[in-house]
Each structure stands twice: as structure tokens, then as C-alpha cells.
């Protein structure tokens, strides 16, 4: 009897799970194997007959001294991911704390969340025009204050940071939401007690808020950093193929262009796999650090 029930439950479980498992087989397991295989070939993406096994040649091309993949493309990728996280995180840390003590918390949160529900195509285009050196909003303000206008997107010294700033701006809302959730978990008594002892806002923040918020903070940091390493839509909308030169080009965008613009599917797949390992190593390293720091739950 017991045995029968057990079997029935197993059968039921797997039949409920079957669409999900089938999906992962087709759109995740097979693709991974496929990607690894293509990365060792020279292939234009058309028929399989024209596929040529070339061993490690694609990887050698990517790591060769002539290649721009490691520098500047991968360097840009890290600057972009790290910069975006830093901007959105620091802003969110301040904003979530402030609005948690203010009236109309929901209203403020909605305002900061607006970019997160807007398509990147809109954000990229609007900022592209706000950055315009001749008649964009930002330079309008800068020049009316008497300064020289800045070539945000045309000067390779500013272009990457300009796009990174937009990415940070976009990310504030989600970070605020998560941090607000963390803040809600901190009992109000702590603050009341601290206030009775005469602690100011800054002191309350460093002594109570920050330590108790640590798990949420780490979670926000890790997920948005990984997200930043993979993202390329904003760069594509604002700087097309990552110009001027390669100064805003990021790894995933280069991979996309290699595959779909130049038809170098082998090289593109090799890039995807290299990027994957980079992200994998970073994730593992972060998990390790978290464990050591006493955050077990992630």
C-alpha cells in the first residue's frame, strides 16, 4: 500500500514537471553542448556541410595579441558591470533608507522604479539625445552654467562611463525595492531605543541598519554584478557596435556582432564560453566569500 502510493506520487510529480524538464532539455542542455561544439569549428551559420573543425583556433584568435577581446572589450565589460552596480547600489542604499522614514514611501518607490519597467530601447534613445553635445539637455545645463560642453558619447574617455551611468540610473529602482524589503525586516524598536540614547541618523544607520541589512546587500550586489556582465542592449542602442573605436564595446555585444553581422559563429561561440567561465568563477568566488562572511542562505 505504502509502496503503491509512493510510486503514484513519483509518477504524478514527474508528469507535472515534464513540461519544465523538456524545456530545459531543449533550450538549455542541448544548447550548452551545441555551443561548446561550434566553438571548435569554423562555421558561417548556414548548412552543417560547411562546418569545419578547427580545434582551438578560435580560442587562439581571441587570446592573440592582435585581438581586442581582452583589452579593451573585457576590461570595458568589467568597468560597465562594476560601475553600474556601484552607482545604483550606493544611490539605492541612501534612497531606500530615506524613504523608509518618509511619508508616501510607495509614491517615491514607484518614481524610482519607473526606468525598470521601461524598454531599454526607450531609455537608450532618450539618453542618447540628452547626451547630445550640440543640443542635448545635459550639455544645455552645463553650457548655461558657463562650462565647456562635454562630448559624452563621442569622447572615448567619457563614452563608457556615460553609458555606465545610464545603466546605473536604470538599476536604482530594483535595488531600492530589494533593500526596502530588507529594511522592513528590521524591527522599529531598535531605532526607538537608539533614538532614546540620542543616536543621530548617521549613527543609527551605521550601527543598526547596515549590519542587519548585510545579507540583502550581498544578494543585491551579486545578482546585479552578474547581470551587468551579460548585458549589452543598452550599449547596442546607444553606441551601435560599441564605438567610438572599441571604447564602449562589451563582451556579449562583440559576441552578438561576430555571429550575426560577420557570420563568425565559431568565434562567437568561443567568446560566449569564455564569458561564461568568467561569470562562473566570479559567482563561485562571491559565494565563497559570503560563506566565510557568515551569510549562509545564498
Amino acid at each position: 500500500m505504502r509502496r503503491f502510493k509512493f510510486k503514484r506520487e513519483t509518477l504524478l510529480a514527474y508528469s507535472f514537471l515534464s513540461p519544465v524538464l523538456l524545456f530545459y532539455l531543449i533550450f538549455l542542455m542541448i544548447p550548452v553542448v551545441f555551443s561548446v561544439l561550434i566553438s571548435f569549428t569554423d562555421w558561417g551559420g548556414f548548412d552543417f556541410a560547411s562546418m569545419k573543425w578547427v580545434g582551438l583556433k578560435n580560442y587562439r584568435t581571441i587570446f592573440s595579441s592582435q585581438s581586442s577581446f581582452l583589452n579593451p572589450i573585457m576590461t570595458n565589460t568589467f568597468v560597465f558591470a562594476f560601475g553600474g552596480v556601484a552607482i545604483s547600489f550606493i544611490a539605492a542604499l541612501i534612497i531606500s533608507y530615506l524613504i523608509s522614514r518618509m511619508r508616501y514611501e510607495g509614491l517615491w518607490r514607484t518614481l524610482f522604479f519607473m526606468p525598470a519597467v521601461t524598454t531599454v530601447v526607450a531609455i537608450g534613445n532618450v539618453w542618447y539625445y540628452m547626451y547630445n553635445p550640440t543640443n542635448g539637455l545635459i550639455n544645455g545645463i552645463i553650457t548655461s552654467l558657463g562650462f565647456r560642453s562635454i562630448n559624452f558619447l563621442d569622447d572615448p574617455n567619457h563614452a563608457l562611463l556615460s553609458i555606465t551611468a545610464v545603466s546605473g540610473w536604470m538599476g536604482i529602482g530594483s535595488a531600492v525595492l530589494l533593500l526596502s524589503a530588507g529594511l522592513k525586516g528590521i524591527p522599529n524598536d531598535y531605532y526607538e531605543a537608539a533614538e532614546l540614547e540620542g543616536a543621530g541618523h548617521l549613527r543609527q544607520y551605521t550601527k543598526i541598519t547596515f549590519p542587519l541589512l548585510k545579507p540583502t546587500i550581498l544578494f543585491v550586489l551579486i545578482t546585479s554584478f552578474i547581470g551587468g556582465l551579460q548585458s549589452f542592449t543598452l550599449t547596442m542602442v546607444m553606441a551601435k557596435s560599441g564605438g567610438p573605436g572599441n571604447s564602449t564595446n562589451v563582451g556579449a555585444l562583440e559576441m552578438y556582432n561576430q555571429a550575426f553581422s560577420f557570420g563568425n559563429w565559431g568565434v562567437a561561440s568561443a567568446m560566449a564560453i569564455i564569458l561564461f567561465f568568467v561569470i562562473f568563477i566570479i559567482t563561485m568566488a562571491q559565494l565563497l566569500i559570503f560563506r566565510k562572511g557568515g551569510v549562509e542562505s545564498y
Binding site: E9, L12, A13, F16, L17, P19, Y24, F27, L28, I30, P31, V32, F34, S35, I94, I95, L98, S100, R101, M102, G106, T110, L111, M114, P115, V117, T118, T119, V120, V121, A122, I123, N125, V126, Y129, M130, T134, G136, L137, G140, I172, L177, A181, T223, I226, T233, M236, V237, A252, M255, Y256, F260, A268, S269, A272, L275, F276, I279, F280, T283
Partner: protein, 290 residues
Amino acid sequence: MKSNRAPWYFYVIIIIGSVMMVFPFLDMIFSSFKSASEYALLKYRLLPEHFIFSNYRMAIEELQLLLLFKNSLIRSVSITLVVLITSSLAGYVLAKLRFPGKQVIFSFILSTMMFPAFLFFIPNYFITVHFPLVGGNDILGQGGEGGLAASMLGLIVPFSVSGFGIFLMRQFMISIEDAYLEAARIDGAKELRIFAQIVVPMTAPALATLAIFEFINSWNEFIWALLMNSVNSNLATLPVGIQMLKSAIDPTLTQPLVMAGLVIATIPILLLFIFLQKYYVRGMMNTGLK
């Protein structure tokens, strides 16, 4: 509870911050009423010289807006519904049933969230267009006119399961008391009925959160839709159609139209979010995860 504890400078900082958030949206709206020659002017002005409404008419004509809107809507609604189904089924199984391999499957699903999407981009494109037995393909995926990409399926199927969705539903369902389910089982109810009549209604708040999340994400998704559009131009969604309107050769002439198109694409989803944000925010906060 939070009375007047916030000093005035809190408000000053937040209001300045909010202006920085809202301003680009205002700029987009006002720009959509400017003329092409006003774009070529050297001086920035927020408000247009004359409000030109014809940008909207032209954008709607040149964009085939109805088609784009229809595609975006069908896509977002379908993905949302399918994800709700797959997530709640899998979430239920992983939360409430005992069976061999459960732990492995759960860890696997968690790990899928760590995989970067672009790793699958190239092979998934290939699988989608050579999917067997759809869009005229034979059993080997050859000979057809684009496989899944021959129809809206190409925009939907590759998004039909969400690791995040499964995780969210499982977390929520774990808190359902086993006693409810046991009682129903003793009454002789079939498992599917228990699922549909007891479990699903109890998880309504989580489903609402997931639905909003999926709807917005699939409405805004760009890269995959762009690729599907190049295979089959009937599949253009709003973001893709608008980006296409922006002419690479002569951007000055098309820019105001692009802005008008963007207003049409973003304002409905913004309003939808503002209207439903209560459900979204509550759900996100309860799971503490995005």
C-alpha cells in the same frame, strides 16, 4: 508609525532624485512633438516651439502600429500565462510532493538562474528556426520557412519556463499547510483538482506578482525579438519596430517619429505598472528576491 521622523533635508534629497528619474520621460514626451528641423537646432529647449501632432500620425502609419501592438500583446499575454502554468505546476511539485530526484531537480533549477542568457543565444536561435515539424520543417528540422520563427511561437516558446518563477512559486507554496491538502486527499479529490481548486487560489498573490513581472519583462524584451524580426518581419514587437524606424542612414529625419513611437510603447506599460504596483511590490518584498 513613521510620522514626521524624517527631517526636511530627506525630502530635498528625494525630490531632487525623483526629478532626475522623471525628467528623461518628460524629455521623451515633449520631444515627440518637435519637428525634424527643430532637432537640428543648436540650442536645447525642453518645450517644443509648436506642438506637432503629425509625428504621431506618421509614426502610427510607418510603424504599422496596430500589428506591433498586437504582436507585443499576444506575446506578453501568452508568455505570462504559460509561465504561470509551468511555474505553479513545478513549484507545487517541488514544495509539496515527495519523490526521488527532487533535491537534484530543485538545485538544477536554481542553477539555471545563474547561467548567462547569451550562452544560449546562438544555439537557441538555431534550434528555434530548425525546430522539427513546425513552420514547414521536416522531422530533422530542415526545409521549412523558419520553424518556430515562422509564427508567433518563435517569440513565445523560448520563454515558456522561468527558473525565477518556479522558485517564487515553490517558496510561496511551502507555506501552505499540509493539513488542507491531506483533508482534500482523504475526500478522494484528484491531485489535479487539489492543485487547481485549493493550491492555485491560495497562491493568488504570488501569481499576481509573477504575472506582472513576466508581462513587463516580455513586453520590454528586445534582443531576442530583434533576432526573430530579422528572420520573419511579421514578428516585430513594439521595441523592435521602433528601433527599426530609427533610420541608420538618415537619423535626423526620423528622430521625432521615434520619440512618438516610444511614447506609445512605454506609457501604457508605465500606467499598468503604477496601477498594479501594489501587488508587484508586495510579492517582491515577501520573497525578497528579484
